[in-house]
Symmetry: C2
Subunit: 335 residues, 2 copies
DNA sequence: CTGAAAGCGCTAACAC
DNA sequence: GTGTTAGCGCTTTCAG
């Protein structure tokens, strides 16, 4: 690997000067700079990022910690965050928890020694903040910017970028009520999911606001993950038990798809017999049949907000400790 | 950050001894080791990975370069590869090309300076190997292990892990022929996609093997991406033009979903009027209605093969230059 | 405006 | 078995 020393000797200057030309913050004689630039070009020199990181005390990587990258919403977030970071000259380290939340702690403990610039927590899982706080504080003190995307941890002093899950769920319920599709069931109140809980709260509050009861039998908890199979099983069981409901609000598009399949398998018409609303706004929702009405989340806006945090680190104004992104109901065929 | 020096002084030994205890390759007196371990524990010491990387000349990160992480198959691959790498103590750097292939070159140029352990190329895009070869060679010479996953680049000396796309496509065609669903159309021969091309070749060869003509009007190129909308538009147009076909083989599950939507929108019955086969075997395919017959790809097996490469780097036997993973037809309702 | 020198944290030689 | 030393490649004082 060609180093500063090689460039320096080729240009007949000292390594320090090469470094100065690279940094561009200190004046260097135009003629000297030209010679250095020529040498860099000639030798194909690339500054060693590892050495820079060691020197600087931190590197240029930001970790994205997801619950499950296979779920469309996290994949979408990963895409946009990567793109945003790249524009800032930062790299994205991907860490997928795969619903094994104990691994989060180990990762956080490793963070300072990895020289991470930041960590974007994007797990829906309810975290044991009592256990995690010391680790997070240690990381933060060593200069790692920690933020939560999707789950609100601002109460714990962690900058959070969240969707208006409550508002989104409420909009969905209002839409269903407006069509007279009651009762409305809810699927996806995973006990361990902070997001599932928030969406459930929005559903519950909206029902109450409309003077509707919240029927526990119509709230389907699922054990883990927001995958289609969980939705299928929950809805199938409800239908088998003869529960009466005219609509289902699901905590993810995948869950909603599973539910719709269960309805279809019983010969029910969507949305006439039962209407379905998903959460996420994933691309394929347009092409399911019936196409999916969904509370659309804006990964791009979330990613831009993440970018803002890291931009502000470079001297700009610090963004708010809590940033809320709107969730918008997209009405299609299923409701 | 607590360093070796701090640990050393706390344990009353030299930094080198601490390092030796950590490495575990050199004998250290049991009593000394215990003192060091105690100091490490006591101070909460974590070796600085950046310093290690600088010293060792390379780090512990492997980059996964995807075409589009939002596509289910790449998200799935990312998940499994991350998990596999983690077991090896390696981190995953995610780089999403987003179909802007010129960025690949820049990334490859940066690779050596990032101290990457390896690069997993997982883009379907046809690469300009004439342009890329020098960059790849430079990276390889600096110790970065480069491998291609999904696209066969073994002819260029790049270890490749590929699915049997040809065999998978052939199995799909054979299945459709066995049901008498001819003619069979193909969607997704993207000009710039090596994988789309491979799958098309399998389709073409299988048709010919069955004594069927390959009708150019039934091969739908799409401009970019394997998204559902492209499939929808291609199939809609074909139907609008009155083209006659009884089945469609799509180069991705997303494309197939789009095609099925187009058929549904025209009131056609699936699979009776037209049958559809996707490519990928994504989880939600079970829950589309009709559920999707698909050529199932095995991201997990691919990831394990990737893991094998990096395991072998640590001294084991080097795996073959080309590894083929079977693609298996999964028959569901759509065909 | 430029050079010399120190040092980020670690480990591999090389002594002892 | 253990300590001393040097150096990975870079940037940043500190001199000049």
């Amino acid at each position: 690997m060609v180093s500063v020393v090689a460039v320096a000797s080729h240009a007949g200057v000292s390594p320090a000067t090469v470094s100065r030309v690279l940094a561009g913050r200190v004046p260097v004689a135009a003629e000297t700079r030209a010679r250095v630039l020529e040498a860099i070009e000639h030798l194909g020199y690339r500054p060693n990022e590892v050495a820079r990181s060691l020197r600087a005390g931190r590197g240029r990587a930001v970790a994205l910690v997801t619950g499950d990258i296979e779920q469309g919403i996290y994949a979408s977030l990963a895409k946009h965050v990567q793109s945003e970071l790249e524009a800032l000259g930062l790299d994205l380290l991907l860490f997928n928890l795969g619903h094994r939340e104990d691994r989060l702690r180990h990762f956080l403990e490793r963070a300072p020694s990895l020289g991470l610039r930041g960590i974007v927590l994007s797990s829906p899982h309810v975290m044991d903040m009592v256990e995690l706080t010391p680790v997070i504080r240690a990381a933060a003190e060593s200069g790692v910017e920690i933020l939560s995307v999707s789950q609100d941890l601002s109460a714990f002093g962690i900058t959070s970028i969240v969707h208006d899950d409550v508002g989104g769920a409420a909009a969905a319920v209002a839409h269903l009520m407006g069509q007279g599709r009651t009762p409305v069931a809810f699927v996806g109140r995973i006990e361990t999911s902070a997001i599932g809980r928030a969406r459930f709260n929005g559903y519950r509050d909206a029902l109450l606001a409309h003077g509707q009861p919240v029927d526990p039998a119509l709230v389907w908890d699922i054990s883990e993950g927001y995958r289609a199979d969980a939705g299928y099983h929950a809805a199938s069981e409800a239908l088998a038990r003869g529960l009466r409901f005219r609509a289902v609000l699901a905590a993810s598009d995948e869950l909603a798809l599973g539910c719709m399949a269960a309805a279809a398998d019983r010969g029910l018409a969507v949305p006439d017999d039962i209407a379905f609303v998903g959460f996420g706004g994933l691309g394929w929702g347009v092409f399911s049949r019936p196409s999916m009405t969904t509370v659309s989340l804006d990964s791009d806006a979330m990613a831009r907000a993440v970018g803002d945090i890291f931009r502000s680190q470079e001297g700009g104004p610090a963004p708010a400790n809590r940033r809320v992104i709107q969730a918008k109901l997209v009405v299609r065929q299923s409701a």
